[in-house]
Every structure is written in structure tokens, then in C-alpha cells.
């Protein structure tokens, strides 16, 4: 597991860190400057950036060592590889949040948003980044044979659409719940959204891991492709 995430982390740092830092700093800086750090705008953009980061990680854009070769060409167990990929996403999320944390703290201090809300939003961003990454990882490695395509984006779009349309599911929609928690008149917290999205994340990870464990679909496809 450590080998997987360390390898991914090194790859990201050498080749993509400048770009991802630029996206985070630039997007949040521009939106912050234009809106006077309006919390809804800043945290909404942070959520979008979290989506982008999760999608990029899930599509293994940052990694030279991909999921299937790692499982089939090395002695690593599927669970270690999947766990390593998730730890990498979480760590990457933390690194990016840490980088922009001064701006987020400035938003909180400037508008008087409570630190409890800030922590809840950051946890939700982390969970959503990992969830998006898991969706993309699943789409690219388990559900399709080519390893790319738009299935990840479709899954993500479906998730956002379903959680935005159905009233019962709205509470787990990341954008909706962030806007709700940032409305001082509504007494809501993100505990429910974090928990359900985390359960979805666990489910997605299990869905990635199980085929490789049983040696069926994922393994078959890799053999055929190679």
C-alpha cells in the first residue's frame, strides 16, 4: 500500500504538482477576489476543484503505475493496491487543502463562519474527492476494458443528477449540502452527507476490489488487453 501511494505521490509531485497547485491557487484566488471571499462561492469552487482532483486521480492521470498492471504484474494484493490508491487521493486532497487553507481561513474569519462548519466542509470535500476518484477508478478499471472513456464522467453526472433531483437524496449532494450549511438561517450540519458519501465511497472501493479478488472480470480483461 505504502509503495503504491508513495509511487503515485512522487509521480504527481514531479509532473503535475505545478499544474494542480496553479488550478487551486488560481481558481480560488480569482473567485475570492471577485466575490470578496463570499463563502458560498469559495467553498463551491473548492468542491469543484475537489471533483477535478478526484477525477484526475481516479483516471490515474498523475500515476505512471496503474491499477491493473500493479495487481497483475506484481505480487501486491488487490486490496493493498486499491487502499494505496485511496490513501494517495486522500493525501493529495489534504496537501491541496493545506495549500489553500490560509485563503479558506481568511474566508471564515472575514465572514464569521464558524470553524465547526469549515471542518465539516473540508471533511466533505475530502470524502467527495475520494468518492469521485473511486467512481472514476471503477469506471476505468472494472466497468470498461479500454481503461478510459467517459463512463467515469457519466457515473459522476448521474450521481450529481440523482442527488439534485430527488428530494430525499438532496441532503447528500455535495454542492447542495455545502450551500445549505453556509446559510446561517438554516440550522443544518453535514454529518449526514459526510456519512452517506463515506458509505458510498466504501461501497465503490469494495466494488473495485471484489472482481480482482475473485480473479474474474478485471483480471480477464487485463489478460485480453495485454
Amino acid at each position: 500500500m505504502i509503495l503504491v501511494f508513495w509511487s503515485d505521490l512522487k509521480d504527481w509531485y514531479r509532473r503535475f504538482s505545478t499544474r494542480s497547485f496553479t488550478y487551486f491557487l488560481g481558481a480560488l484566488g480569482i473567485i475570492g477576489a471577485f466575490t470578496n471571499l463570499q463563502p458560498q462561492a469559495v467553498f463551491g469552487v473548492l468542491m469543484v476543484l475537489g471533483f477535478w482532483l478526484g477525477l484526475a486521480c481516479g483516471k490515474e492521470t498523475f500515476s505512471s503505475s496503474r491499477l491493473q498492471p500493479l495487481i497483475f504484474s506484481t505480487k501486491l494484493k488487490p486490496v493493498s493496491v486499491v487502499a494505496g490508491k485511496v490513501v494517495f487521493v486522500l493525501l493529495l486532497g489534504i496537501i491541496h487543502i493545506l495549500l489553500v487553507l490560509p485563503l479558506l481561513l481568511l474566508t471564515v474569519l472575514y465572514w464569521g463562519v464558524s470553524f465547526c462548519v469549515l471542518i465539516q466542509i473540508l471533511v466533505l470535500v475530502e470524502v467527495i474527492t475520494a468518492l469521485v476518484s473511486a467512481f472514476a477508478l471503477m469506471a476505468a478499471n472494472v466497468l470498461t476494458s479500454t481503461g478510459d472513456g467517459f463512463l467515469g464522467e457519466f457515473m459522476l453526472g448521474g450521481y450529481l443528477l440523482l442527488t439534485a433531483v430527488f428530494q430525499e437524496l438532496k441532503r447528500i449532494n455535495p454542492f447542495y449540502s455545502v450551500l445549505q450549511v453556509l446559510n446561517p438561517e438554516l440550522q443544518v450540519d453535514l454529518g449526514y452527507a459526510i456519512l452517506l458519501n463515506f458509505l458510498l465511497l466504501l461501497g465503490s472501493l469494495i466494488a473495485i476490489w471484489v472482481p480482482y479478488r475473485t480473479g474474474t472480470e478485471g483480471g480477464m480483461r487485463y489478460d485480453q488487453n495485454t
Binding site: Y13, L25, G29, L37, Y110, G112, P184
Partner: protein, 556 residues
């Protein structure tokens, strides 16, 4: 032998230490309960249990207990419940208490609304509630004149009580002069004070409270006055006219001081009605916080809504920060990746350290769109300034937890997220009292003293308030007039007009005050008040709409 002894002690310790630990834990937990048991609290509201609705009433809280050797710091928490509102208990007011074994007596003004309130009183040590009790003011409401007396016979008291019969009774409450209110808000419901001069026994706070009340229209009847400096009110009336047979009336602001010998008093209701010049309660007008700044406020007042006051500074901060971060990310992107990592780490840590003071500074530059409305009534004859401030987070406002500070000893919080507000007094001396509050609102009312500001108290205070440049207005019941003060100190009166200029926001208040007191013209304006610094967050303090009565004959 020694070895055996040591082993024996060890054995005893091993055997009994769980019990010792248990007893220690019990003592630790029980100490708070023991403390709670030692605290005795008794509280009363109003004068002899009667409260005047829509006015400020005194509440006396007596707390007994604590250790003689180690004074205990407690807090007194007041929660006012409006039984006709859905969400009670949304605003908490706290006062500091110090107990050192003796009786601690605290006098707190409480605004009771027209329908009455239930007051919840809690004594707390840290977060633990040591004592709790409630007073329901609805059972003790008396909507009429309350007259405080001391040294009068029962027949005189009864005569005063009957002075407005058959239409309405007058409530006379016998008080010990030493228990007279120390805060002028507590005189809000008192129509007259009838005392026999017992010498200089009142403290300065009591004298100042009487001064404010008198200046606003109170009536003080002092029987058998003593010559200065032995008199009870020598500080207010340095040389009372003493005559064995006569009654002397002296004006004091809008109020009156009557000195007379005890022998002239009669137990005749008509005598008292004439002496006190008592009108029916609903026709009685005085300049008090409750009557003028009660629950129904007068019209719109000047507000400051600096919505994007710190926008420019904030943009600069963000741009500098982003450009620095990008510069590190790009220009240090050589093969020395460790150097870049180190630089980014230093940048992040430094930013995290700096962001707290910078964020507080930036947040202090604006009101977050929350208006602060303050009205102040400058009483004549050095009676002080009655002020009322309202901070309301309006629906749809993006403002979050607001910190409010009045001077250095009083502070509050309008905590939208946790759905409650608080107003905290850090010292036992205080100016602003929580009138009404909710999860989104604080109404602070109080009285500021203007003494020691200038030789001539009223005009001195007025001179301090009047802006160096800008506009002040005058209303005499017929015409509105404005005085424009230039930067160079020159001033010019505008032409009197039938309608008020647009800059005057509190027209309704001005007109109502003139209707109450038609013998005066009213001067008003916007400026900062000395000693009054209501700050939002830790920086801004707002301007105040002030108004004051001046005799018709006085030319500014």
C-alpha cells in the same frame, strides 16, 4: 525487618489504593455539589413585588455563601422569556459575581414588556449551574404610578395612594434610602420620590441615578432638607431653600425638586395630588428609556451599512498571496524538487500564521452588511445620555457570528449558527443592558454619564457631540431648520421649512418628543458620542442619532 515493613506498606497501598482513588474521585465530583448546596439565592423584581409593564424595573438578587478565605468567581445569568413568542430563551445576559462568604447584593435593571416576562435566574460556576429560579412578572403587573417613600406615616402613604381615585390607584412603596436604585434605568417606572432628609447617606451612583431621573422629568420631594454638605442630595441641590413653613419648588431639567418641612404635609389625597402634580398615568410624560425607547421604536434611524468597505484591501491581500504562491510553484520548479517543497511548506506555514491577525483586521473593516441603529437622548442639566442600540441580522443576510463590544467591559455575540445571542458584563459597573434579544438581534439600552466632561455639563456635553463639520437640525413644532457647520468652523442656519430635509431619518421620534414636551424645541444630529463605543467585531463603531430638548427661548 525493614524489608518486611516496606513490603507491608506496599501491600496496604496495593490493597487500598482503588478505594482511595474512588473516594478522591467522589470528592472531586462532589465538590461542585457541595458548593451548590452552600449557595443561597433570593431574588425580587420591582418595588415591593410590583412591576410596571413596558418599563425598566429593578431586580435585586441576593446571593449568600462561598468561602471567607477564597473568594469565588461566579456568574449570574439572566434569561428573559416572552411567553407569547415561539422561541424563548434565545438571549442570555451574564453578570460577574464575587462571593466571599458574605451576602452579595446585585441590582439589575430589567425591561419588562407590555405582556410581562418570565425571568430565569441562574448562578453558575463555570458551566455548572449552582442555583436556578424563575420569576413570573405577569402576576405582579401594576400599570400605574409607583411612588417611593421613606419616613412618611401610614396615613400619608394612604393619602398618596388615593390621590387619583376613583380612576386609578397609585402604588406607594416604602424604601430604605440605602436601597435606592444605583442605576438610573431602575427609576424608569418611578413617578415620584418622597423622602425625609436623613443626611449624606447615599453613594455617588445613587445620586447620579437620581440626577438622570430628575433631568428626564422625575419629581423629588425632600422633607426637612438639611443644609449642605450634610444634606441627602447636597451634590444635586447644593443649597436647598429651607423654611419652616413654606414649600419651595425648583426645576431640575424637565423634572422638579420640592423641598418642604415635614409639618406642612397633610394626609389629604387632594394635597398630594396637587403637590406631586399627578396626572393620570397614561397622560404622564417623562424622558426615560422605557417611555421613549420602549419596545415600539420610533421610525427609521440612520444606519451604516458598509457592505464592501474592506473590498479593496481584501483583493490586494488575496492577489499578493496567490501571486506569491504561484511564483513559488513556478519559479522554483527546477530540478531541485526538495527546495520547492520546502519553499511551499514555508509559504503555507507562514500564511497560516499570518492569516489570523490579517483576517481579524480585514473583518474589522466592515459591518458585514449588518446595520447598527443607535439613538441617543441627551438629557438637560447634566442628566446624562440615554442610548439605545439595535443590531439586527436581517433575513437573507450572509452575516455569521457577530461580535459586539461596548467600551471595554461589556461584550456580546449574535451567534446565528448556534441560534442564541449573549450579552456579557465583565465588570460590576456597566452601562448597556440587554433590553430585548433573540438569536438574530440585540437591543442594548443604557445611560451614559456626562459629568466631568466640561464645566457646564449640558452645554459641554452638547459641544462635544456636535460634529466639527456637517449638519445639525432643529424642530420647534412648526418649522424644521438646519445648521450647516463648515470645515473652517463657520456655521450658517438654513431657511426654516415646513418639511424635514431628507437627511433626517428619525422624524417620527422628533415629532413625538415635541408632542410630549411642546414647551421645548429639539436639536438633533448624527455624530459620535463620547464614552460610547459600540464596536462590531473589533474595529468599527457607528455614529449615533442624538436628540436633545432646549428651551424655546434659547438661541444656539
Amino acid at each position: 525487618m525493614k524489608l518486611r515493613k516496606v513490603n507491608g506498606v506496599k501491600c496496604i497501598i496495593k490493597k487500598f489504593y482503588p478505594y482511595v482513588l474512588l473516594i478522591f474521585c467522589c470528592l472531586l465530583c462532589g465538590s461542585q455539589q457541595v458548593m451548590a448546596a452552600r449557595i443561597q439565592v433570593s431574588s425580587t423584581l420591582g418595588f415591593q413585588g410590583y412591576v410596571l409593564p413596558g418599563r425598566w424595573n429593578p431586580m435585586f438578587v441576593e446571593v449568600k455563601g462561598g468561602s471567607h478565605y477564597k473568594p469565588e468567581k461566579l456568574t449570574l445569568e439572566l434569561i428573559k422569556q416572552d411567553v407569547y413568542k415561539e422561541d424563548p430563551n434565545r438571549a442570555v445576559e451574564t453578570f460577574p459575581l464575587r462571593l466571599s462568604g458574605a451576602l452579595s447584593r446585585t441590582q439589575i435593571p430589567i425591561y419588562i414588556n407590555e405582556s410581562g416576562n418570565i425571568i430565569h435566574i441562574r448562578i453558575k460556576s463555570g458551566r455548572q449551574i449552582l442555583s436556578e429560579e424563575s420569576i413570573d412578572s405577569r402576576t405582579r403587573v401594576f400599570p400605574g404610578h409607583i411612588i417611593l417613600t421613606s419616613g412618611l406615616s401610614s396615613s400619608m402613604q394612604q393619602a398618596i395612594s388615593r390621590s387619583l381615585l376613583p380612576r386609578e390607584p397609585v402604588h406607594t412603596a416604602r424604601v430604605d434610602p440605602l436601597d435606592l436604585p444605583v442605576h438610573s434605568l431602575n427609576y424608569d417606572g418611578v413617578s415620584a420620590l418622597v423622602l425625609t432628609d436623613q443626611g449624606a447617606i447615599l453613594n455617588s451612583a445613587q445620586i447620579e441615578a437620581v440626577r438622570t431621573w430628575l433631568a428626564g422629568g422625575g419629581k423629588l420631594i425632600l422633607c426637612n432638607p438639611r443644609p449642605a454638605p450634610e444634606g441627602m442630595f447636597s451634590a444635586l441641590i447644593p443649597e436647598p431653600k429651607i423654611n419652616i413653613t413654606q414649600i419651595f419648588k425648583t426645576r431640575f431639567g424637565l423634572g422638579q425638586v420640592i423641598t418642604l418641612p415635614l409639618a406642612v404635609l397633610r394626609d389629604d389625597p387632594v394635597f398630594w395630588q396637587e403637590l406631586l402634580d399627578l396626572k393620570y398615568f397614561e397622560d404622564t410624560r417623562r424622558l426615560t428609556a422605557g417611555q421613549i425607547f420602549g419596545s415600539s421604536r420610533f421610525g427609521e434611524v440612520q444606519t451604516l451599512q458598509g457592505k464592501v468597505k474592506s473590498g479593496f484591501e481584501l483583493k490586494i491581500i488575496i492577489l499578493v498571496w496567490v501571486l506569491t504562491g504561484l511564483a513559488i510553484a513556478y519559479f522554483l520548479n527546477f530540478r531541485r524538487s526538495r527546495l520547492r517543497f520546502l519553499a511551499l511548506l514555508i509559504f503555507t506555514v507562514f500564511s497560516l500564521i499570518v492569516v489570523f491577525p490579517v483576517g481579524r483586521w480585514a473583518s474589522a473593516l466592515w459591518y458585514r452588511g449588518v446595520p447598527v441603529r443607535t439613538q441617543a437622548l441627551l438629557l438637560p442639566h447634566g442628566g446624562g445620555v440615554i442610548f439605545t442600540s439595535n443590531i439586527l441580522i436581517q433575513k437573507g443576510s450572509p452575516a455569521w457570528n457577530l461580535q459586539v463590544k461596548l467600551s471595554e467591559s461589556e461584550q456580546g455575540e449574535i451567534n446565528v449558527k448556534a441560534a442564541w445571542s449573549s450579552w456579557e458584563h465583565l465588570l460590576t459597573t456597566y452601562n448597556g443592558i440587554l433590553q430585548t434579544g433573540s438569536e438574530k438581534e440585540l437591543n442594548i439600552t443604557g445611560v451614559l454619564s456626562v459629568h466631568d466632561k466640561a464645566h457646564d455639563r449640558f452645554w459641554g456635553a452638547l459641544a462635544i457631540i456636535i460634529p466639527r463639520s456637517g449638519l445639525i437640525g432643529q424642530y420647534d413644532g412648526r418649522f424644521w431648520q438646519q445648521l450647516e457647520i463648515m470645515e473652517n468652523g463657520e456655521a450658517a442656519w438654513g431657511i426654516p421649512q415646513d418639511r424635514a430635509a431628507d437627511w433626517i431619518k428619525s422624524k417620527e421620534l422628533i415629532i413625538t418628543l415635541h408632542r410630549f414636551f411642546p414647551d421645548y424645541k429639539w436639536i438633533f444630529g448624527h455624530s459620535h458620542l463620547p464614552d460610547y463605543m459600540l464596536k462590531i467585531q473589533n474595529g468599527l463603531c457607528n455614529e449615533v442619532f442624538w436628540i436633545t430638548p432646549v428651551g424655546m427661548e434659547v438661541e444656539l
